[in-house]
Symmetry: C2
Subunit: 358 residues, 2 copies
Amino acid sequence: MGGASHIQWEGNLLKLLDQRFLPEKEDYLECHTHLDVQHCIRDMIVRGAPAIGVAAGFAMVLAARFIIQSFHGKNTAFSWLDFETQLIEAGDSLKNTRPTAVNLSWAVDRMLIKSLAIKDKSPERLLEEMEQEAKNIFDEDIEVNKKIGEWGSTLIHDNFTILTHCNAGALATAGYGTALGVIKSAFYQGKNITVYADETRPFLQGSRLTAYELQKEGIPVFVIVDGAAGYHLNKGDINCIIVGADRVAANGDVANKIGTYTLAVLAKENNVPFYAAVPFSTIDMSIGCGKEIIVEERDSQEITHLKGIPLTPRGVKVKNPSFDITPSNLITALITEYGIIYNPNEKKMQQFVEKGGG
Amino acid sequence: MGGASHIQWEGNLLKLLDQRFLPEKEDYLECHTHLDVQHCIRDMIVRGAPAIGVAAGFAMVLAARFIIQSFHGKNTAFSWLDFETQLIEAGDSLKNTRPTAVNLSWAVDRMLIKSLAIKDKSPERLLEEMEQEAKNIFDEDIEVNKKIGEWGSTLIHDNFTILTHCNAGALATAGYGTALGVIKSAFYQGKNITVYADETRPFLQGSRLTAYELQKEGIPVFVIVDGAAGYHLNKGDINCIIVGADRVAANGDVANKIGTYTLAVLAKENNVPFYAAVPFSTIDMSIGCGKEIIVEERDSQEITHLKGIPLTPRGVKVKNPSFDITPSNLITALITEYGIIYNPNEKKMQQFVEKGGG
């Protein structure tokens, strides 16, 4: 992205670039409470699994400050137990906004674990250290993405045309991106890269966000409709597919934006490698396989209307699953910050995680 | 559709329902010349391979009348050779509007063959008989669709959920429909049917037209984004897929709306039958295989804008192939008005066509 991050922490508030209106408008929304952040996550003002995690980290700081201030307001002495109880409630409420991506609950839990570790400190110090933890999540996310980019770029050869889906770029993370991070790293190495970006209905993350990011970077990009990916794969236009991930199960199955599974099936049929770029924090060993991952169903209006314009006859029913599950046997490799897991399966995931990724 | 056809011949002009504005507005455009019809085909005011063929039949009548009138206007005697030369030119111009569907050139050629057969008649009689031929194309198309519906309905069992793509319904034909004709026939037989309609970007034939038609018929329908078909197939929600066709090659490969190939690959992966409903006139034995079929690339604005609203950053490039090719080995069966061709291949297509379909 080059410029300012779409997630800006200003000490007492969180500013989020409103991704619903990109690329037309670059408006920031100010979040003063964790409920503001919750609204932004639910309405996809901020979206992308790692970005949601980063925003949730700061939301927990806003929640902590609000709770501490409420002791002052009520003129009661600070009670860590009351504080922690209310912080857990705020965290639960945040986690419930979007069920599929694991990074949201991962970030909330990390902030809660931090608050437990510093329970004996003063409220002011507690807040300071929680703020630092949220900043760490932000900074680490960018570092992680750059490492994913380095590993992933070894899979990208000169003159490659890469298909991607949704937006797994700077706008889906603290910055840089996972799938787009791989593409950027390869591009920065001087490789001649062309990207085909699925428009990714219904939210159009591909045509609106991925095209916007790549255009800013000067990386050649063609937007295609989701239905055209198969045509280009079959024609031999595509050298590999790279996507992000919202949750990876213990057997390597990947939950990602609706349409991802279709690309993996098409990749197999056409002998094209299919990669998912996943931060270690996206791996959820508590989930045995993809079938156990909850797939969020979003509002029908996302499909029936576009910017208020009706696209369907009035009253027509829709199904709007926001994610799908790609079984690990369709995945050529997972690209993590610690290295590449080829042909992921339960055993390889277990070994990888036991080594702490290293 | 029940009501009036979307293609209405009024003796001296052709009225076409403007499908760009459905389901919001039901506006008809009047075509007084074959050039008006050409415009309507190019801009997808009328679309769907059989419907384009039917409209082209009437366009040839409008062309014939215009040519005959021009003799009167110039006060010159009618010359059949001049007439036929100009009629062939008009036909070529019509054929060039959209390259992929064979029905367009099939209908133009049928009208030219008719004009050749009645070359010794008076201009008035010539016009009368050409008009009758265009009406025959219209009437036969509906008959053909109903027969396809009868054959196809034998493949649809009670409580089936059927996935379809684009619009292969009354709005894509003279009436009734090919893929939707099969669904309607099964529904009229009292079978409990549910339809999943891919929205079919970029022109949204599924969410705008198929949903509109099925809703009018009272057939339960859910609109899904194109990227969600794989999710529902993998979940076991779908019993079979039925699509239409724009051209069938001599080996059984099918050209149809972009996204169709993807569905066929997903059907194979998930062991779900994949059917294409094709009138005999859609089979083009002069084309050896799908790779030889010209795939129309349409304007980038179809992807970058929706009703004037930009969906992509300014200046972004797109690829907009309007069709794709499904190889015959992914097709469970072709449903024609003469019967069902299971596992189509070159030999079976040859035998089928040699018997005149019968």
